[in-house]
């Protein structure tokens, strides 16, 4: 109900004219505003009448009547019509049953990664990386893979709402917005604030610029809870200007990471992982490897891949960086870290001896000075232009996001904000606690939220506009190197959503312009002649816009930045905040795939924890799953403890993204909210944490309980030197290997024989394969209680084993899918022949035939079979049916399932090959896990074809099978892990 300004003098006049006694309830009544008349006329306020849960009899009848009357018009609605007729006019290129792929881009933290989206008859089902996109190179990560589930999430907001519950319409919103804007027009938009995440989109930027031009007093704030403020400030500190730092790991032989999880986080991590692994892969005959030193507080996958890893408190990283700088000869005010002198000397020595091929990377959560030191080091070592490139910022308007948000908060507190438009961000949940954003919200007169979910922020806004998923909208965004991708929709909006572009266009008064016209119009405007249509189509087709990569700029480190080492505070307990490896900053909290994804280093699902090192746990008397109260700056939160080997001592890591109250039915109440401890002064780490143990226990679920190999030869490792001395090291194990004795005749494979190798040297344990498999193969989510019972359904899991000392163990990753054994123990014991060997060596699972005795799972030594103990596949929610891959059976309760080597992809390739009357080419079949793998650690193909990649990799001495002593003859084998430790540091993997 729009409120109009009341004319008080008119009210007075009206009261004076009244004859007799007149009772009045409100000023609106006397004024006889249209809104009040409507209020009297309608039984319920506008928007609340028809669609609330408890329908009154009258409105029910009204709706019923209307429904009947309009029943004939249903075909006009935006609902998906169920058509069973074949196409009268076949849409071009669309063959029922054959998927089409379209290029688009997904953004996280504002940066784009190119995707190829598989579409079945107009319904996107699977995301792959775009091979042409620099940030993807065809690979993906768990977020990208899981974003398809977000599209079909039934908890997404579906209609425009007012005050949380009242259903409204976009038109009503536009009207109301216009009224607001009109009143703001008078004072040049003072009081208008727009809060976005980091914006790289040229179109959005141009719109924002236009708004700022129209409303000069308005302000645009940007905030990313897991953003890179520190990197930007570090660049400004070192160079006096903003630059984007890009690493070229393809040229780096020695890499020092200062708390940087560059393989797992950041806008270019997929690309970095590819480049890093290319320098590491040895099975191809490469005789050298890069060497990775990682200094970090929280164990990460990057640390796990390091040749040398040093656990160090985050707050000591500056000292460490200064010490390295000092040792390398960079004069920035050195420091000493006596206890790690040999380490520092070794690293410095290596970096110096690898001028131009060394690289120092600082982590986003490290303060600006560490970034500046890294820049100085890279410059001094001649790495700039080689392994490090600088470009202009990718962000359209790089700001200090924390300062930007603080400014907004201050303005809100001072009642200077009248209209707040929040685009795709959730500050009520994710703003630092000291800003008290939720309370400040009420000081803003009109609050508008656009987002995929009716989240914590939407709850406190008068208007919530359902956002569009990137698969439903037009847009554009830049990758880490500036390359522009056009985001194109794969499906019409499922609900009444609007994109940020449309909302901003509405602010500009362009209400009738479609999302496509906004984006296309911008680029048409940018076009400098020539055939725009052709360029536009090429950009859409390729997923990147040509010639948009930012050129390298040359910058130089300013003298005497931060010459005085920061005084190290008292050695009190340190708290470290990290984005979660599964749900990131909380934006994926309602994504069941990601919630159930075991975190790489702990294998915990469905929770976040307070990570502590074994020594610290011992000192504080903490045990796993014990609930502790974390107190920091007068705020406290209760969290369960998880002791993790390799964590820095005297430090506690908490992951952001949990403890949400309005994430949706999946994410609500999962874990604890670490944002409640986070402050704007120290968003990433700080000392001064207090821990008080409680007697409470909290049940945490992990998919792996034993991280010790128990002396079994499961992951075989050697140093590069060892490998070169004894190339057969991986074969020196396992009595009984190679002696195949069987009662049954051997199978003969005349045609294809499918096989897989997994390279443990390059596997970084990032979990992309697990989620890719889940998306490809319609694998259900089971929930925390079922994971606790040991019933997770992942067809490919990544095992993590620790080796060596408790305080800093080496970690090894081993992805385990079905081995497709030649002599499969599962096949033998199935009473109903539901799991059978096929002519190409696949171990097939016949779901229809399975009665579910689970004997096969008991007899599987790899325990890769998964059983539908309950009805896990959701058959009730219609929108989730759209998610399913039509080429893969959806399994029923009581049926066993497991990795099929993506048999549907094999068959698709077989059909293509048969049509062309040729053999299937090597590389033509790419399994889902293989396709997702950022490091190309998974190789699949025909082992009968001696020229195939997989046959060649199996012919190397690195190749070994898991548990071959059981005579299972697995088709999936592993390439032993080779690491490259420094002889100066003992030449051992640590």
């Amino acid at each position: 109900m729009e409120k109009e300004a009341l004319d008080l003098s008119a009210i007075r006049a009206r009261l004076a004219q009244a004859k007799g006694r007149r009772y009045w309830r409100s000023l609106e009544e006397i004024a006889e505003t249209p809104a009040f008349k409507e209020f009297l006329y309608r039984e319920f306020p506008q928007g609340a009448a028809e669609w609330t849960d408890q329908l009154s009899r009258r409105s029910f009848l009204k709706v019923m009547g209307a429904s009947l009357a309009l029943a004939g018009l249903t075909s006009c609605s935006g609902q998906l019509a169920e058509k069973i007729l074949p196409y009268v006019r076949q849409p071009e290129e669309l063959i029922p049953g054959k998927p089409l792929f379209y290029a688009s881009a997904m953004t996280l933290g504002g940066y784009a990664t190119g995707v190829l989206v598989e579409s079945h008859e107009g319904r996107p089902t699977k995301i792959e990386g775009n091979p042409d996109h620099p940030a993807s190179l065809g690979s993906s990560d768990p977020f990208m893979q899981a974003s398809i589930l977000e599209l079909y999430d039934p908890d997404r907001s579906q209609v425009v709402t007012r005050f949380g519950t009242r259903i409204s319409t976009w038109d009503a919103f536009i009207q109301s917005l216009q009224t607001e804007l009109d009143s703001l027009q008078a004072n040049q938009g003072a009081g208008l604030r727009i809060l976005t995440g980091l914006v790289t989109s040229p179109t959005l930027t141009s719109q924002l610029d236009a708004i700022l031009a129209e409303f000069p007093q308005a302000k645009w704030h940007q905030y990313e809870p897991a953003g890179s403020d520190n990197a930007r400030a570090g660049a400004r500190l070192a160079f006096g200007r903003d630059v984007e730092t890009i690493y070229n790991l393809a040229k780096a032989d020695v890499v020092l990471s200062l708390d940087a999880n560059f393989l797992g986080e950041g806008p270019a991590h997929i690309r970095y992982a590819r480049d890093f692994s290319d320098k590491r892969r040895v099975w191809t005959g490469q005789t050298t490897q890069n060497r990775l030193y990682v200094v970090e507080s929280t164990p990460s996958i990057t640390g796990a891949k390091a040749d040398h890893r040093l656990p160090l408190r985050a707050s000591q990283m500056e000292l460490f960086a200064r010490a390295v700088a000092e040792a390398v000869g960079v004069k920035v005010g050195g420091a000493e870290l006596a206890e790690h002198a040999d380490w520092i000397a070794a690293v410095a020595g290596e970096l110096q001896s690898h001028r131009g091929t060394g690289l120092v990377i600082a982590g986003n959560q490290q303060p600006p000075i560490v970034h500046a030191l890294a820049h100085a080091l890279n410059e001094a070592l001649g790495n700039v232009g080689q392994t490090v490139l600088y470009t202009d910022p990718v962000a359209a308007n790089p700001v200090d996001e924390m300062a930007s948000l603080r400014e907004l908060a201050e303005d809100m507190a001072a009642d200077r904000v009248q209209l707040l438009i929040i685009l795709d961000r959730n500050p009520v949940y994710e703003a630092p606690a000291d800003l008290q954003f939720a309370e400040l919200m009420f000081k803003v007169k009109t609050r508008i939220h656009l987002g995929l979910y009716e989240d914590e922020t939407a709850e406190l806004c008068q208007w919530h506009i359902p956002g569009l998923h990137y698969l439903e909208m037009w847009g554009d965004a830049r990758a880490y190197d500036g390359t522009v991708s056009i985001i194109q929709p794969l499906i019409a909006p499922l609900y009444d959503g609007k994109s940020a572009y449309e909302l901003l266009a509405a602010v500009l008064g362009q209400t009738g312009v479609s999302n496509l016209d906004l984006v296309r119009g911008y680029w048409q405007g940018q076009s400098s002649g020539g055939d725009f249509e052709a360029r536009w189509r090429t950009a859409l087709h390729n997923g990147i816009m040509a010639d948009t990569t930012l050129p390298a700029t040359s910058v130089s480190v300013q003298a005497d930045f931060g010459s005085a080492p920061q005084a190290v505070g008292p050695q009190s307990l340190e708290i470290v905040f990290r984005p979660d490896p599964s749900v990131w900053d909380g934006c994926f909290a309602n994504n069941g795939w990601l919630q159930e994804l075991p975190k790489p280093m702990t294998k915990i699902t469905w929770d976040n924890v307070a990570l502590v090192s074994p020594a610290t746990a011992e000192r504080l008397g903490l045990s796993n799953e014990q609930v502790v109260e974390l107190r920091y700056r007068e705020r406290s939160v209760r969290a369960p403890v998880w002791i993790t080997p390799g964590h820095a001592d005297n430090s506690v890591t908490v992951h952001l993204g949990f403890g949400r109250s309005r994430a949706g039915s999946v994410g609500n109440g999962v874990g604890f909210n670490a944002y409640t401890l986070r402050t704007s002064e120290a968003p990433w780490f700080d000392t001064g944490l207090e821990i008080s143990p409680t007697s409470e226990q909290y049940s945490l679920v992990t998919t792996q309980q034993h991280f010790n190999m128990e002396g079994r030869e499961l992951v075989r490792t050697a140093t590069l030197a060892d490998y070169q001395a004894r190339p057969d090291f991986a074969q020196e194990h396992s009595a009984g290997e190679g002696k195949h004795i069987s009662l049954y005749p051997e199978y003969e494979y005349d045609g294809n024989a499918w096989g897989m190798t997994i390279d443990l040297t390059t596997c970084i344990g990032c979990n992309a394969c697990t989620i890719a498999c889940q998306a490809e193969n319609n694998i259900p989510v089971v929930g925390k209680d079922q994971v606790l019972r040991g019933r997770e359904m992942h067809w490919i899991r990544v095992d993590t084993y620790f080796e060596g000392e408790l305080d800093n163990p080496a970690a090894h990753f081993q992805p385990v899918p079905c081995m497709h054994c030649e002599k499969a123990p599962c096949e033998l014991v199935c009473p109903v022949v539901a799991t059978v060997h096929d002519a190409e060596g696949l171990n097939n699972m016949v779901y229809n035939r399975c009665v579910g005795t689970r004997y096969c799972s008991n007899n599987c030594p790899y325990k890769v079979r998964r059983f539908n103990f309950l009805q896990y596949s959701n058959e009730d929610v219609p929108v989730l049916k759209l998610l399913m891959n039509p080429d893969v059976t959806v399994r029923q309760r009581g049926v066993m399932e497991k990795c099929t080597y993506c048999v549907q992809r094999i068959n698709a390739a077989r059909i293509e090959a048969k049509k062309e009357n040729r053999a299937i080419r090597d590389g033509e079949i790419v399994t889902a896990c293989q396709q997702a793998c950022p490091t190309q650690a998974i190789i699949f193909g025909n082992i009968n074809d001696k020229g195939s990649q997989v046959a060649q990799s199996k012919a190397t001495p690195l190749n070994y099978g898991l548990l071959v002593e059981l005579n299972t003859e697995p088709r999936t084998t592993y390439l032993a892990e080779v690491k490259n430790p420094n002889a100066e540091l003992g030449g051992k993997i640590s």
Binding site: N708, G790, D799, T800, V829, P831, N858
Partner: protein, 459 residues
């Protein structure tokens, strides 16, 4: 063998203790046994026991209904422990179902007359135990409505079951055993059913017993054929006693799981089955003879003999445990070695040690005649052995599965409330059937007891 002090005989006579009390005639034997069914007032205790047992039965069928509705996920099974209480209880019940046929068939062939008074009721126990055992494999599958796919029958799939799978062997072994056990039991009942028909005063009962007596007229020709048939069935059943549990053990032995994959399993399982079967017969017969005053028919000689069989089979089972340990070490396989260590020191170690105590150590008391003759102690030991045999199956199935080859895949198994209601429910169902049997059929073979009457005169 001697219990002469008890019978007040002089030691030098050295006669075996009688299998029937003194002073019985054909008539009094018949009267006594048939009166339990026909004339004696049903004791109040029977009603109480029946009410409790029926409660258990109701719980069982309630659980089954929920199981079919929800799926076997209502139990605690998981990956890696795909089989939990379902198969533990299956094997336990099958084991209990062993004593009946052993007593009836093998002891008949060996002309062990002392079997006579306990065989009927041991056979009934066998049938009821098999009925319970059969429930588990039928219901433990993910889709029980397709269980019939395990049977070889002509079908449109053009598919046989997988004859390499021990589960298919199981189907044959169990169904054969159940069929033959039933026939054997029923054949044995026919003359007695005729007796009841003749003695029943209630016309309805006369008709019912008459129908089931299949026209038995006590003619010499009948007896002639009857003895031939009974002997043949006994000969048929004898190999089954060995085969059933051997095949059940192959479910495990044919798998590659450490702790399952052992050639020793068939004899070890058969001994275990007889051990538990006799323990169950003792558990049931001690209170039964007391409640119905059957001390003269189920004499101390029976009790003593059963205790001795328990001792012998218990020793074989204990030897099996020791051999498992030895083979774990001797195999040289790190998986087998770990398995043994894990059994003794892992998370389920208390159950392993309880098993050794229940099945290995406590039965050694049966060496003592005083223990064998003390009904209360014997009753307690038999209960302990029942528990021990259940623990044995749990240890074999769960501790082997929960930590096999890849440490990353190790897990734990915890039964849920529905595992327990199903298990306790089967015990209730078993007792229900047994109580009904006691009430409506002669619990001791009348005609075979009559054959013992001359011994009664001697006694």
């Amino acid at each position: 063998m001697q219990s002469s002090e008890m019978l007040g005989k002089t030691p030098e006579v050295q006669l075996p203790a009688p299998v029937i009390g003194p002073g019985y005639t054909y008539g009094s034997v018949t009267d006594k046994i048939s009166s339990l069914v026909l004339s004696r007032r049903t004791p109040l205790a029977w009603f109480v026991a029946f009410a409790l047992a029926s409660l258990g039965t109701a719980m069982l069928f309630g659980t089954i209904a929920y199981l079919l509705y929800g799926g076997i996920g209502i139990w605690g099974n998981n990956v890696p422990v795909g089989w939990g209480f379902d198969i533990v209880n299956f094997v336990w019940w099958v084991g209990i179902g062993h004593a009946g046929t052993l007593i009836s068939a093998i002891l008949l062939l060996f002309r062990q007359q002392w079997r006579t008074s306990i065989n009927r009721f041991a056979e009934a126990m066998t049938l009821f135990a098999i009925a319970n055992a059969g429930l588990y494999p039928l219901l433990h599958t993910g889709r029980p409505w397709f269980d019939y796919w395990l049977m070889p029958y002509p079908n449109t799939f053009g598919l046989w079951p997988n004859f390499r799978s021990p589960l298919v062997w199981d189907v044959f072994a169990i169904s054969t055993y159940a069929t033959v056990s039933f026939l054997f039991w029923y054949t044995g009942l026919i003359p007695d059913l005729a007796t009841l028909r003749d003695r029943a005063k209630n016309p309805l009962l006369r008709i019912l017993y008459g129908i089931f007596a299949l026209g038995w007229r006590n003619s010499a020709a009948h007896w002639n054929r009857y003895h031939a048939a009974y002997l043949m069935l006994a000969a048929l059943s004898t190999p089954l006693v060995v085969s059933v549990h051997s095949v059940v053990s192959l479910d495990f032995a044919a798998g590659i799981v450490p702790g399952w994959h052992a050639t020793m399993f068939p004899p070890y399982f058969v001994a275990g089955a007889i051990f538990s079967g006799f323990a169950m017969v003792l558990t049931l017969s001690i209170p039964l003879r007391k409640a119905y005053g059957l001390e003269d028919f189920i004499t101390m000689r029976h009790i003593n003999n059963m205790a001795k069989i328990m001792l012998v089979t218990g020793l074989i089972v204990f030897y099996g445990y020791m051999m498992e340990l030895f083979m774990g070490w001797y195999s040289g396989s790190q998986y087998e070695e770990y398995l043994i260590l894990n059994r003794m020191t892992g998370p389920y170690a208390p159950l392993y040690w309880a098993l050794i105590l229940c099945n290995g150590l406590i039965p050694q008391l049966l060496w003592f005649r005083g223990v064998r003759n003390n009904l209360l102690v014997l009753f307690i030991i038999s209960l302990i052995v029942n528990v021990g045999m259940w623990l044995e199956r749990f240890v074999i199935i769960v501790t082997s599965l929960h930590r096999d080859f890849l440490p990353s895949a190790w897990g734990m198994y915890y039964p849920t409330i529905f595992d327990w209601t199903m298990f306790i429910g089967t015990i209730g169902f078993f007792l229900t059937l047994l109580l009904l049997f006691i009430r409506v059929l002669p619990v001791i073979s009348i005609f075979e007891m009559r054959e013992l009457v001359p011994e009664s005169e001697n006694a």
